[in-house]
Symmetry: C2
Subunit: 479 residues, 2 copies
Amino acid sequence: MADTKKMVDEITSMEEDFAQWYTDIVRKAELISYTSVKGCMVIRPYGYAIWENMQKILDTAFKKTGHENVCMPMFIPESLLQKEKDHVEGFAPEVAWITHGGNEKLEERLCVRPTSETLFCEHYANIIQSYRDLPKLYNQWVSVVRWEKTTRPFLRSREFLWQEGHTIHATAKEAIEETERMLHVYADFCRDALAIPVVEGRKTESDKFAGAEATYAIEALMHDGKALQAGTSHYFGDGFARAFDIQFADKENKKAYPHQTSWGVTTRLIGAVIMTHGDNNGLVLPPAIAPVQVVILPIAAHKPGVLEKANELKEKIAEIARVKLDDSEQSAGWKFAEYEMKGVPLRLEIGPRDIENNSCVLVRRDNREKQVVSLDKLNEVIPQLLQEIHDSLYQKALENRANRTYPCTSLEEIVQVLSEKGDGFIEAMWCGEEACEDKVKEVTGVSSRCIPFEQKTLSDTCVCCGKPAKHLVYWGKAY
Amino acid sequence: MADTKKMVDEITSMEEDFAQWYTDIVRKAELISYTSVKGCMVIRPYGYAIWENMQKILDTAFKKTGHENVCMPMFIPESLLQKEKDHVEGFAPEVAWITHGGNEKLEERLCVRPTSETLFCEHYANIIQSYRDLPKLYNQWVSVVRWEKTTRPFLRSREFLWQEGHTIHATAKEAIEETERMLHVYADFCRDALAIPVVEGRKTESDKFAGAEATYAIEALMHDGKALQAGTSHYFGDGFARAFDIQFADKENKKAYPHQTSWGVTTRLIGAVIMTHGDNNGLVLPPAIAPVQVVILPIAAHKPGVLEKANELKEKIAEIARVKLDDSEQSAGWKFAEYEMKGVPLRLEIGPRDIENNSCVLVRRDNREKQVVSLDKLNEVIPQLLQEIHDSLYQKALENRANRTYPCTSLEEIVQVLSEKGDGFIEAMWCGEEACEDKVKEVTGVSSRCIPFEQKTLSDTCVCCGKPAKHLVYWGKAY
């Protein structure tokens, strides 16, 4: 498709068909390509570079909080997966099974890891003897496999890339602190790197991770008013330790069970970025994770001095930003559309007249604002503009969320709001009973997203049964 | 095991049992841990940090030579694997097969990638139309699976980490240049980062990668005189392009088949480092890949001012090297042994008397040389010492190889040399016939390692049949 290159008008508009708009961007911005492996995808260089930028920022944050990277096997023997009862019930129906190595049938089936708690537990049991061995703060960057029925690029695929943190602590208190700490790391990352505001909260009992005592999550609201779970952090108590017989000698030399956590974010975050910031011209990337932050487009590049100047600017800007010079023979119009599609935060145009004036034109991707900037001030102005772009993306996302968050005090109100205003976050009080949670979903179509840490009181009674309310809950339709 | 910590005398000496010495180091330096998944291992933080350092250096070299990272699925449908005849014959007997997703039997079996040529080819066919789309220079950092019968940590495991480069070019010439370029990148990396000298050469026909027209390799010689293939680079011609129907319109708008390469190095390089530089006290790490380059050990740490000074030095050294301060309560003797085991290049001892003299003691891991260094000169001296350590490791490895490389002109001589001097590289002339290659192995036990780029003439005739010789060949026993 490279020489019959896509044009802007080929994208479905998000108002017409949001799902198709999403798929169009994912393909036309060259983030992924489909394969003959159903539900799996090729992550192409531009998509993978976004993931690498996310990895770098997160990995630094993990190391700053004392975590070390490791690498577990990708296979789990069936008997190991079965050791923790809730865990195997949750995952066994959706794992891929290896039955043969070469021409030989295996004595025991292996699954491809859907998550690695069981492998970490086996390892902990090998290496932990004493309180001096605790805590262990581990992380790994790998891919995992879950045999999903319906798949969508980044949002739900059979194989996806992620990081999974796994930690083990002497006390419940420490483990709970870790669970919350890492949720905050994710929330900060979403705000500071992805320009995505998230709600931090706890999942209800019915929505917990298989084997967890508590699951925390960050929830973001997409352009279309649907909620996206952007990261989770689990507290396991000592349930896994008991199932895997992990014990340590405490300071009094008494045997005790340690407490565990795990937490993860995935390539799904790329989907979140697309659906939070993208527009009908394509991707809009927050500068922190944009593979190219500034693209230089020479105007009338055949005129003497233009390419030289463009190259000179590239060298200079490379000191402060990720910069690309496109001196290909494609038309200016084609290039404008191409880099809008790819969501490059800043476009720099430089032509003969600009050079005469010792200036260039900078155009923001997010709002198309143009400004003429002196070439001597570029390395001051560009970082400021990138910061402004980030701030303004975040502000816009925050406003979108505020405009689409609806406090409701009855099921009828929820139904009415959703039908009048479309999807969004519903804030409503809840008694804590699963029956009410189910009924809200049945009657209104929205499910509980999380019990936010920041509580407030809309009314004293459950939106469903009218009994005393225990929590404010965010509800929504979820990706 | 952490509180009943291993002592130095627990390592088997390499003279007594080289294989056991290797296994002892791998476990006692905490590089890996065994798992219940046969043939797979946990790479522990210290081992993984070595791999991360290797990755960073190689990834920079790949990006400098124009390569982009991507990510292919980990599964290959059976029908896709079968498209290239030689390739499937080479790999089908050693792949792991997925037959079920959850409780459902798959319509078509999938294998876990043993290597990803077939996936890249499918992708190329989707995205390449014109000469303008060429070349594509891709790489991915992933793990692959080969169902080996006998396994050893890092050297041969069922799952291993690697990078696989895959490129596609308009002409054979370009592709061959790429194949050789990347082999040189590997050789430079081994010399400059791992302090390992390698022989660059071409594999014989019988030893080629399945589906390749030519396979190039770097071969290193271990402490025990056995050869280790440390990296390979393959030229595919247009064989895969024909099998997968990848065609492009050239400048005259005629259809043509492009030419491909692939190249890879693996976590096996960690094994190469152990067996090239390690000694009877444990690991010896080249500074470029050492997770900790300088370990600070406070002496009489309870005395006033010692810990403060140690912390101050740590801050200062952190500007120029990867530094760790061990202020735990373990004895000095324990710590000396521990960091020797872990191969930390430099140990810095600082105690009350040193502080009085405004100096400290630096001890090299490789030769145990001590020197007293003024605290004011530390950040000059440390980089120099790290460089000296690197150079001296390389020099020693070079000498070991020279001492164990034996030019031979008859099969009898090969047999005699091996029985008198033990394993090593045998240099001997070869006619190019597979029958002779087989016979050399049968009679002497050494197999062809490579046809080195740097040729010389030991005699005019084949070491085996006496007919005219075509090549000098390196022979050896291989890991």
